[in-house]
Symmetry: C2
Subunit: 493 residues, 2 copies
């Protein structure tokens, strides 16, 4: 078997490899990039799961398939996938298709390396350092550390783990059983990853003390102070506060200066989950929303959200310059992080993380930034704020649309009140009936493929829509379309 | 500002977007795919960090750059990156460039969605399920569960977290402080992620009991039994054994049947870290190496390694069918996992994980599998074994090459004994001097760009080379080159 020929398939046949990839790339350009971002096309092509299974013929079989069949499969995958770069996709905190970021992602995939050593990722070790330095500078730090994580949830977990390690370095070896009960604090509007992280890290969800938020969704510093006192009275040791810059539903910014004051008074680690709102730091006009962030110990910031860098691009930034990341997570595997290398092994950054192999997440952001400059990215942020403001003003003008609140960010939350419920606010089942409207409209828009908007309940409030205005290709016409389409879809309700 | 025009840059200009992406793709094809996999080109272009920083001009500035500048940057990034698809890249447990997998990755990037709900990832929710089903079937399970994780280290952590949750469901809420001290068991040859995971999960590295391995690197079941007894005698509660199928350095397979017997006797969760060796299950000839794996509770398997699916493609497979993943990790975020959707919300698999956004890792594997079939992938595995065998036999024929042991897998470990040390085995400083050879040769090969092979110390053994034979494009000629090149580089030592 070990003859001198490579395998059949395409291994080693560079002409066939190139032909295949050029053909697939043609499909990608036509179907995903051109049609996928064109307002004249559907944003999604809804199929029921059972029908979609049939259409995709997912089963993996013994025999391989021809190139023609493979190309047809590529077309089908794209056809039935949601077009998150489409101007009518308002469903998540990410959207849009930045061509430079996509170019960076394609290069990343073609190079297929892992971000653990300078030896096998020389360009990306240096590039990650530079990108993180730039993000830290926007936070307001001239030194520090950081790392790209597989998503903001894991960035948040890192912050919690670092904070407990800094206070109790022994816990790395001896575990939590030797520590007093710990308490961390976050508002009820925080992302659910704080709870998930507390469970995963062995602290338990009970260790998360939920601080009140005001009617705008912002953490109430006085209640934070009160909760810290309560935790201490119960014998727990407060160690971290996780504030949020840009909450998931309402887009609220916690008052960082006041929270930092509380943290300073009590000697607590201040983490800022700015996964969504961090990119506002690029805007001279709006960055005041994050005033005080430079007082944080750690910041989670996901450029794959508002900057459209592509999933995933999640930075954890640290003010610490004492190599805390490596001390907390390192285990000095001798097969990978040999100490007798011929270059400075401080460049082997892989031991800073709890992963071993780690994807390259810096290139897509770096390349986009090189193409846009700070100025281009700042214009995007400012434009998104302006479009959100335009949408809000249009909502106010129209009958049957009711804002949940004046947004301070790009989450525009509102109810569509259908004709049959208008003027019936005093009816006893009004709220119950109103809450059923968004799911119905969602089903209709998805089945038509005309647009996608998220909805959710929120505390005592029933379901309302949350439009996220982030895609850099959006215009006022898209905002008008969105409202007209809601009216059209809901006119018989 | 909120005028009806999209931003400058390329947003909304579909002609310019297409032109940019076609130009970048041309660079990728020429530089990364053609030259990057050609034996006539260098595998790496070594630069000292300071020089590389200058060459790359990494700084992110206020002004954006022209398309011509951006294309030049793309060329530079590729030029100075290591070519992991090159036939002379033997440095890691991943290598090679599978064109169908790369096609899947490019489509994934162009669609840029997150694997949390059927709503925004209908194709990939169903596809992930089918791919996991296929992998489970190869393990020997007709039912079960699973999920793709951001790397094998996190898969291993998941297994540990699931095992402790299954035994102590309270720990999700109440944390580890309410539990007795826990103990998990793995061999001294296991991957370092087990230690990292124990620290991250709050168990502490002390909870990891290190079981002896035999001279081939395989866990010794009798010592496992002994360690369990010792842990219990110390008041700890054993809960998990992590066996390894394909250790990192030696490529050893732990004896799963015997280990499963021990686990059964003591009621312990059996996890198999088959990140590297799992793909051998595709080979009828070699799958006996994993006999007993069907008795595991969980298996970590990274198709980005031996199957060359591309970083990252890491499956965690579970025998459990009781929705343990979702119970252990779920937090029912109401903004994302609404219960009043118009489709079966069991399809919203995102609450199975501790991440929120999660990359699509199934398409690249699925598309490659469709193109190759089981048969094509099996031939790859068998060919890799045959080439490793060829390399071993060639090593035995040559003077100055000494096998560390007969490999049972694709890790071929050996010393290069330079001319000045041949016949001097009895000299007192022989081992010390031999250990210094690999780092010198590594520096020479990297600086010439002729090939890349990893080396490491290993217990009392000094540095030796570990050649990983995995790239499906390899031939015997590449094996011959490798040995000739070592002799050439080391002839003056």
């Amino acid at each position: 078997m070990a003859d001198s020929e490579a395998l059949p398939s395409l291994a080693g046949d560079s002409v066939a490899v190139e032909a295949l990839l050029r053909a697939v790339f043609g499909v990608v350009v036509d179907e995903a990039i051109q049609k996928g971002t064109s307002a004249s096309q559907k944003v999604c092509e809804w199929k029921e799961p059972e029908e979609l299974k049939q259409l995709l013929d997912l089963e993996l079989r013994s025999q391989g398939e021809s190139q023609e069949q493979i190309l047809e499969r590529c077309r089908a995958v794209i056809r039935y996938s949601v077009k998150t770069g489409h101007p009518r996709f308002f469903n998540q905190l990410f959207s849009g298709l930045d061509p430079h970021a996509l170019a960076g992602r394609i290069i990343t995939e073609s190079l297929n390396t892992s971000q653990y050593t300078y030896e096998i990722a020389p360009v990306f070790v240096l590039m990650e350092e530079e990108v993180l330095r730039k993000l830290r500078a926007l936070v307001g730090w001239s030194s520090g550390d950081g790392i790209f994580c597989p998503g903001g949830s894991i960035s948040n977990m890192y912050a919690v783990n670092l904070a407990r390690y800094q206070r109790y370095p022994d816990c790395k070896q001896r575990g939590l059983r030797t520590l007093p009960p710990l308490a961390l604090f976050t508002s009820k509007e925080c992302h659910y990853s704080i709870q998930k992280g507390a469970a995963f890290l062995g602290l338990g969800t009970d260790s998360v003390r939920v601080v009140k938020a005001d009617e705008r969704g912002k953490m109430v510093p006085d209640d934070l102070e009160r909760q810290i006192g309560m935790a201490e009275a119960e014998g727990a040791v407060p160690f971290l506060v996780s504030a949020t810059s840009g909450t998931t539903v309402l887009g609220a910014f916690d008052p960082l200066e006041a929270i930092a004051d509380v943290c300073q008074r009590h000697g607590l680690w201040l983490h800022v989950d700015a996964a969504w709102g961090g990119s506002v730091l690029l805007s001279q006009t709006h960055r005041h929303l994050l005033d005080g962030i430079q007082r944080a110990d750690s910041v989670a910031w996901n450029p794959h959200k508002l900057l459209a860098a592509g999933l995933q691009c999640s930075a954890l930034l640290l003010q610490d310059s004492s190599n805390l990341l490596k001390r907390c997570h390192g285990s000095q595997a001798s097969y990978l992080f040999q100490q007798d290398k011929f270059y400075d092994v401080a460049l082997d950054t892989g031991d800073k993380v709890v992963q071993c192999g780690r994807r390259v997440d810096c290139l897509k952001l770096w390349l986009m930034w090189k193409a846009q400059g700070d100025q281009g990215l700042e214009r995007r942020i400012d434009q998104a704020f302006a479009l959100a403001r335009y949408l809000v003003e249009e909502i106010k003008k129209r009958e049957g649309l009711e804002l949940v609140m004046e947004p301070e960010f790009l989450n525009v939350c509102f109810w569509f009140v259908p004709p049959s419920l208008r003027g019936k606010q005093d009816s006893p089942d009004y709220h119950q009936r109103l809450s059923k409207v968004a799911p119905v409209l969602k089903e209709r828009m998805v089945k038509e493929g005309s647009m996608m908007i998220g909805y959710q309940p929120h505390g005592p409030r029933g379901n309302f829509f949350r439009v996220v205005v982030a895609n850099p290709a959006l215009t006022c016409a898209d905002m008008d379309f969105l409202l007209n389409e809601l009216e059209r879809l809901g006119q018989d309700l």
